[in-house]
C-alpha cells in the first residue's frame, strides 16, 4: 500500500506536469469553489438579511404573552448573552377637556428598540430624527392623527388614566408598528414603562399584551428560541421576523432560492466538466495501464494507484476550491455586508467539509466506473491497440455520476421542491437537447449534398459519429443554456422580481375609513389632483366552523393556526379577483351566481386545512355567516397592495358593519396632502409602510447583486464544460487531420472543415439551448419564484448566432495546432 501511495503521488505529479489534469482539476476547483462560497456566505448573508429585516420587528425575537412575563426569562436570556427589553401594550381612552379617543398605549423601557430605530419630530410633517432612547418619565410621544382627533399640540398636557403627561414629540416611526394586527390599530401613544403604575390603567381584567424583545448573536438567539419554545404556556408565543412580515419572508425565501439555484447549477455544470475531462483522462491512460500490467503491475495495484491519484487530485483541487470559495465569500459579504449593522458571525468550517465532499463525490461519481474498467484493460493491448477500448459513453459510466450529482443537487438545494425542479428541468433539458440535436443532424445530413464542399466535409464529419456529435451538442448546449440563463433570462427574472415591487407600490395604508366617507374621500383626492385610491371594504369576523366541524385554537397543533383562530379575520368582498392574485384551485365566481362563496388565500388554506367545497362559518356581529369555499388563490404579499385572506362573493357580507381601507402611493413631495386629509377625516388612521418597503427593496437589490456574482461561478463552469467538450475530441481530430493531410488536404481546406463543423455544432447547440433555457426560465419563474415570465425572442437569436460564432472560434483555437503542426509532430502530441 505504501508503495501504491508513493507511486500514485508520483503519477499525479507527472500527469499534472504533462498537462493531463488541467481541465479536470479546473472543473473540480470551480465545483468546490462555488459550493463553498455559497455555503460560506449564504448563511452569513441570510443572517445579515434577517438581521436587517429584524429592524422592522425591533428585535431578533419577540415573546408575546397575555400574562406578565416572568423575570426568570430575562435571567435565561442573560445567560445566552441576549439583550432584552419588555413592553406592554393595551387599548385605552385618552382624554382632554373636550374630547376623548380610543388609543393604543405602548409602555416601553430602555434599551427599546433593540433593532431599528424610533423616529420623532417636533412638528406635524416636519423632518423627523432618530430618538435617543424612550420617552422620559412624565412625557409621551403620540401619533400625528391624535393632534387633530384630540385637538392638541406638542407640549400640551393630556391625561392618560389617572396621570398627566406632556406630549413631548410626534412619533413618526416605530419598529414593529406595521407588524401584527395591522388594520386594527388605534393611534399610538408611547410612554415610559416606569409610568404605567401611575396611570392605574392595568387591572387584573385588562386585556394587556406583554412583549419581551430579545436580540443578540444569531446562533444564541436560535438556541434560546429552541430552548424556550417548547416550554411556552397557553397565551404565549414567539415571533421572529418571518412570522411577523409575510412580505419580508417571501423576499428572503426568493433570495435563498436564487442563491441556491446558482450554486446548484455551477455544481451541475462542473460535474459535467468533470465527467467529460475524466473520460479523456481515462482514454489517454488505457495504454499506460496495459504497459503497467505488462511490466508487472497487478490489477489491484493499478486500481489503487489510479484511485489514490484521483483522491489526491480531489483533495488538492478541493482545497484550492475551498480557498477560492473562502476568498469569494468576502466579496459577497462585502456586497451584502452594509445591510448588517453588527459583525457577521465568523464563517464556520462546515462549508469546507461540504465543499470537499462535493468535490470528491462528484469526481468519484464520474471517474469510479471508468477507473474500475481501467483495471480490466487487457495487457495484450500493448500488442494490439484495438483491444480494451472503453465503451465511450455508456449508461454505466455516467449512471453513478448522475445519481451522485442528483443527490448533491437535492442536498445543496436544501429544499426538495427546488431540487426536484432543477433535476426535472435538467433531465428534460438533456432529453430535449439529445432529441433535437439528433433530429437536426439528420435534417442537415439530408441537405448536405447541396452544401459547399468544406461544409459538406464538416457535416459529413458530424454525421459519421452521430453519438459523439450528439454528446457534443449536449455539452455545448448545456454551456450555452447556462450562458443564456445567465444573461438574458436571469436579467428578466431579476427585473421581474424588482418589478413585483413597482415604484408606485403603496407606501401608506389608510384604515378606518367609514362607509359614508368613501365618496367624500375620493372627491378629496380628486381635488388635490391625485388619483383616487381603490378602497377595499373590510369586515371583522371570527372563523368558527370549517366543513361542518367546529374549530377552536386547541384543535390545531400548529401555533400559526392557533393564532389565526384566536383573533378576528379581516374579510372583504369583491366581484373581480385582484389582478395580482392567482387562482390555484377552483373557479372565481361570475356575476350571475347567486349562491354566496368564499375565496381563501393559499397559505391560510394550508395552515387550517381548508379545501375547495368546504363550508366556512364566520361569526360576524354575533351572527353566523355561512358560505362554501369555491376557490383558493395565491397572493403576492411582497407587492404591498392590500390583500385579504378571505374574500366573499358580492351579497354575503354587505349587510354587516364594515369599514374601508386603502393602499396609497404618495410621493415625498405630497406629504402635506396627508395633513389636510387627517384634518378633514380625523378618524382615518394613516400607517407608514415605507420603512417595510424600503427593507424589501434593499433585500431585492442586494440579493440581485449577490446572485449576479454567484452566477459568475456558473458562467465559468459553463465555459469549462464547452472547453472540456472540445478538448475531449482533440486526440481524435488530430489523428483524423493527420490522415487527411497526409492524403493531401491543404491547410485552408482543413481549417474550413473544422470551422464548418464547429459552427454547425455551435449553432445547433445554440438553438437547442435557447429552447431549453426559455423553458427552464419559464418553469423557474412560474413555479419556483412565482413571477410572471415573458418569452424573450432574443434568446434564440443570441443562442444560434452566439453559439455558432463562439463555438466556431473556440473550436478553431482549440484545434489550431492540428493545422499548424507538421503531421508527424501532431501525431506525437496525441
Amino acid at each position: 500500500m505504501a508503495a501504491s501511495i508513493r507511486m500514485s503521488w508520483r503519477m499525479l505529479r507527472r500527469d499534472w506536469r504533462a498537462g493531463e489534469l488541467t481541465v479536470l482539476s479546473l472543473a473540480l476547483v470551480i465545483a468546490v469553489g462555488s459550493v463553498t462560497s455559497v455555503g460560506f456566505f449564504t448563511d452569513r448573508v441570510r443572517l445579515a438579511l434577517e438581521n436587517q429585516a429584524n429592524t422592522l420587528l425591533g428585535a431578533d425575537l419577540v415573546m408575546i404573552s397575555d400574562q406578565a412575563i416572568a423575570d426568570d426569562l430575562r435571567v435565561d436570556a442573560e445567560r445566552f448573552l441576549l439583550k432584552s427589553a419588555t413592553s406592554i401594550e393595551f387599548p385605552s381612552m385618552m382624554m382632554t377637556a373636550e374630547r376623548n379617543q380610543l388609543v393604543s398605549i405602548k409602555a416601553v423601557e430602555s434599551p427599546y428598540p433593540l433593532r431599528g430605530e424610533l423616529r420623532i419630530s417636533q412638528q406635524r410633517f416636519a423632518p423627523d430624527r432618530v430618538a435617543a432612547g424612550v420617552p422620559e418619565a412624565g412625557s409621551i410621544w403620540i401619533d400625528i392623527q391624535l393632534l387633530d382627533l384630540l385637538g392638541v399640540n406638542v407640549n400640551d398636557v393630556v391625561k392618560v388614566g389617572e396621570a398627566d403627561f406632556k406630549i413631548a414629540a410626534i412619533l413618526t416611526n416605530e419598529p414593529a408598528r406595521a407588524s401584527g394586527q395591522l388594520f386594527s390599530l388605534a393611534p399610538r401613544v408611547m410612554l415610559n414603562l416606569a409610568d404605567i403604575a401611575s396611570t392605574e390603567l392595568i387591572t387584573a381584567a385588562s386585556r394587556v399584551r406583554h412583549r419581551m424583545m430579545l436580540a443578540g448573536e444569531i446562533t444564541a438567539v436560535a438556541n434560546f428560541r429552541a430552548m424556550i419554545e417548547p416550554k411556552l404556556k397557553p397565551g404565549q408565543r414567539m415571533e421572529g421576523i418571518e412570522e411577523a412580515r409575510p412580505e419580508v419572508r417571501s423576499a428572503l425565501e426568493r433570495a435563498r432560492r436564487f442563491l441556491g439555484l446558482a450554486a446548484m447549477v455551477s455544481v451541475l455544470l462542473a460535474g459535467v466538466a468533470v465527467a467529460t475531462s475524466s473520460q479523456r483522462f481515462i482514454r489517454r491512460h488505457l495504454d499506460s495501464c496495459a504497459v503497467m500490467r505488462c511490466v508487472g503491475g497487478t490489477q489491484q495495484q493499478i486500481l489503487s494507484i489510479f484511485m489514490l491519484q484521483m483522491l489526491w487530485l480531489g483533495l488538492i483541487a478541493g482545497s484550492v476550491g475551498c480557498l477560492l470559495g473562502f476568498g469569494a465569500q468576502f466579496v459577497l459579504v462585502g456586497i451584502i455586508g452594509s445591510l448588517a449593522d453588527f459583525a457577521l458571525p465568523a464563517p464556520s468550517l462546515l462549508p469546507v467539509l461540504v465543499g470537499l465532499l462535493t468535490g470528491l463525490v462528484t469526481q468519484f461519481g464520474f471517474t469510479l466506473p471508468p477507473l474500475l474498467q481501467l483495471k480490466n484493460v487487457p495487457s495484450l493491448r500493448v500488442l494490439r491497440r484495438d483491444l480494451g477500448a472503453l465503451p465511450t459513453r455508456s449508461i454505466s459510466t455516467y449512471g453513478l455520476g448522475f445519481v451522485v450529482l442528483s443527490a448533491l443537487i437535492v442536498w445543496q438545494a436544501g429544499d426538495f421542491k427546488l431540487g426536484f425542479y432543477v433535476l426535472g428541468g435538467l433531465i428534460v433539458a438533456l432529453l430535449l437537447l439529445a432529441g433535437v440535436a439528433f433530429l437536426l443532424l439528420r435534417i442537415l445530413g439530408a441537405f448536405r449534398a447541396h452544401l459547399f464542399v468544406e461544409w459538406r466535409f464538416g457535416v459529413t464529419n458530424l454525421m459519421r459519429r452521430p453519438m459523439s456529435s450528439v454528446a457534443q451538442v449536449i455539452a455545448f448546449g448545456l454551456g450555452i443554456m447556462v450562458l443564456l440563463l445567465f444573461s438574458v433570462i436571469r436579467d428578466d427574472l431579476l427585473d421581474e422580481w424588482g418589478n413585483s415591487l413597482p415604484d408606485d407600490a403603496p407606501n401608506r395604508f389608510l384604515i378606518n375609513i367609514q362607509p359614508d366617507q368613501v365618496e367624500p374621500l375620493s372627491h378629496f383626492f380628486s381635488e388635490q389632483g391625485l388619483k383616487a385610491p381603490t378602497l377595499y371594504p373590510m369586515i371583522r369576523g371570527r372563523l368558527i366552523e370549517i366543513g361542518g366541524k367546529v374549530v377552536q385554537p386547541e384543535s390545531y397543533e400548529n401555533p400559526r393556526a392557533q393564532r389565526l383562530l384566536e383573533r378576528q379575520f379581516n374579510l372583504s368582498w369583491a366581484a373581480q379577483m385582484q389582478v395580482d392574485n392567482q387562482l390555484i384551485m377552483g373557479e372565481w365566481w361570475s356575476a350571475s351566481e347567486s349562491e354566496g362563496q368564499f375565496s381563501v388565500e393559499e397559505g391560510l388554506a394550508k395552515t387550517l386545512a381548508i379545501e375547495t367545497g368546504d363550508t366556512l362559518v364566520f361569526l360576524i356581529d354575533e351572527q353566523r355567516v355561512t358560505a362554501r369555499v369555491s376557490n383558493i388563490r395565491s397572493v403576492e404579499w411582497d407587492s404591498f397592495r392590500p390583500n385579504f385572506f378571505v374574500i366573499a362573493s358580492p351579497g354575503v357580507l354587505e349587510s354587516y358593519s364594515s369599514s374601508y381601507m386603502s393602499g396609497l402611493y404618495l410621493p415625498e413631495s405630497e406629504y402635506l396632502v396627508l395633513d389636510k386629509m387627517v384634518r378633514q377625516f380625523p378618524n382615518i388612521t394613516v400607517i407608514d409602510i415605507a420603512a417595510v418597503m424600503t427593507q424589501v427593496r434593499i433585500i431585492i437589490e442586494r440579493v440581485t447583486l449577490a446572485v449576479e456574482y454567484v452566477f459568475l461561478f456558473t458562467l465559468i463552469a459553463g465555459l469549462l464544460v464547452m472547453y472540456a467538450a472540445i478538448y475531449s475530441t482533440l486526440d481524435e481530430r488530430i489523428r483524423e487531420s493527420v490522415i487527411l493531410r497526409t492524403l493531401g488536404a491543404g491547410r485552408r481546406r482543413l481549417l474550413n472543415g473544422v470551422i464548418a463543423e464547429f459552427v454547425t455544432l455551435g449553432a445547433l447547440a445554440g438553438m437547442v439551448a435557447a429552447t431549453a433555457a426559455s423553458l427552464l426560465g419559464y418553469i423557474l419563474a412560474v413555479y419556483l419564484f412565482q413571477l410572471e415570465y415573458q418569452f424573450n425572442g432574443w434568446v434564440w437569436l443570441t443562442g444560434i448566432i452566439g453559439g455558432g460564432a463562439g463555438i466556431g472560434l473556440a473550436g478553431v483555437l482549440g484545434t489550431r495546432k492540428v493545422l499548424n503542426y507538421p503531421p508527424l509532430l501532431a501525431l506525437r502530441e496525441v
Binding site: R14, C294, V295, G296, P378, L380, V382
Partner: protein, 234 residues
C-alpha cells in the same frame, strides 16, 4: 538439444488458440509445442497472420490459450491468475515492443523507473539512470518520449526492459518502426545487454537477417510450427 527440463526456461505443450469470428471459428495457433533454453536467443518468424504475435502474447502471459500448457521459469503460467502472472512478469520478464509503448507523460528516466517502482523497489532513480547511460541516453534523462527520436525511444524501452534484470526478454518486431541503420544499432544493443545479463531473448520478427542472429528460429505458418532451424551465424 538440452535434455534437462530445468535448463529450459520456456516450455510449451499442445498450445492451441481459437477465436470465434463472424465467419466461424478461427484457429490462430494449432497444437504447438516447443522449448527454449535459458540464455538462448530465439526468433519466431513467419508471414503476417501466421500467429507469431499471438504466440508471443501467450508466452508472456498477456493472453490466454484455448488449450495447452506453458511453463515460464518453472511456473505453469495458466495455473496462475492474472495477478500471479503479472507478479511473475514483474520479477522475470522484460518487454520491447514495435511501437515502443513508453508512457507519454513520463520522462525517459521515469519510464525506466516504472517497473522497479511497481515492484516496490526503493531508490530506483540511480539504477534507472545507470541503465539509461548504458544505452547511451545519459543526456536525455528528462526528455519526454515525444522529444526523442524513434531509435532513442526504443533504447529507452530496452533500458526499461533490462533494468529489472529479467530472465527472459520478449521483443515484438523491435525494429519494425525504425529505419535499417537505427534498427541495426538497436539490435546490437539488445544482444549486448543479453550477453551481459545472461538473459534469454524471444524475438518476433519477419526480418530474416535479424532472425539469423539468434541461436534458433521457430518458423510458423497458419498457426503451426513448420520448422525449427538452428542458425549458422552462431
Amino acid at each position: 538439444m538440452v535434455e534437462n527440463i530445468s535448463r529450459s526456461i520456456v516450455r510449451v505443450q499442445g498450445l492451441c488458440k481459437r477465436v470465434v469470428s463472424p465467419e466461424g471459428e478461427l484457429v490462430l495457433l494449432d497444437d504447438l509445442s516447443l522449448e527454449i533454453d535459458a540464455g538462448e536467443a530465439v526468433a519466431i518468424v513467419g508471414a503476417s497472420g501466421s500467429g507469431k504475435s499471438t504466440l508471443l502474447g501467450i508466452l508472456a502471459g498477456l493472453d490466454v490459450p484455448s488449450d495447452g500448457q506453458v511453463w515460464l521459469d518453472g511456473n505453469d503460467l495458466f495455473k496462475l491468475d492474472e495477478d500471479g502472472r503479472a507478479t511473475l512478469r514483474q520479477s522475470s520478464v522484460g518487454f520491447v515492443f514495435q511501437s515502443f509503448q513508453l508512457l507519454p507523460n513520463l520522462t525517459a528516466l521515469e519510464n525506466v523507473m516504472l517497473p522497479l517502482e511497481l515492484g516496490g523497489v526503493e531508490n530506483v532513480e540511480s539504477q534507472a539512470s545507470k541503465m539509461l547511460a548504458r544505452v547511451g541516453l545519459a543526456e536525455r534523462l528528462h526528455h519526454y518520449p515525444k522529444q526523442l527520436s524513434g531509435g532513442e525511444q526504443q533504447r529507452v524501452a530496452i533500458a526499461r526492459a533490462f533494468v529489472v534484470k529479467p530472465k527472459i526478454l520478449f521483443a515484438d518486431e523491435p525494429t519494425g518502426n525504425l529505419d535499417s541503420a537505427t534498427g541495426e544499432r538497436v539490435i546490437e544493443l539488445l544482444f549486448e545487454l543479453n550477453r551481459e545479463q545472461g538473459a534469454t531473448i524471444v524475438l518476433v520478427t519477419h526480418d530474416e537477417a535479424l532472425a539469423r542472429r539468434c541461436n534458433r528460429l521457430f518458423r510458423l505458418d497458419a498457426g503451426r510450427l513448420v520448422a525449427v532451424e538452428r542458425s549458422v551465424a552462431e
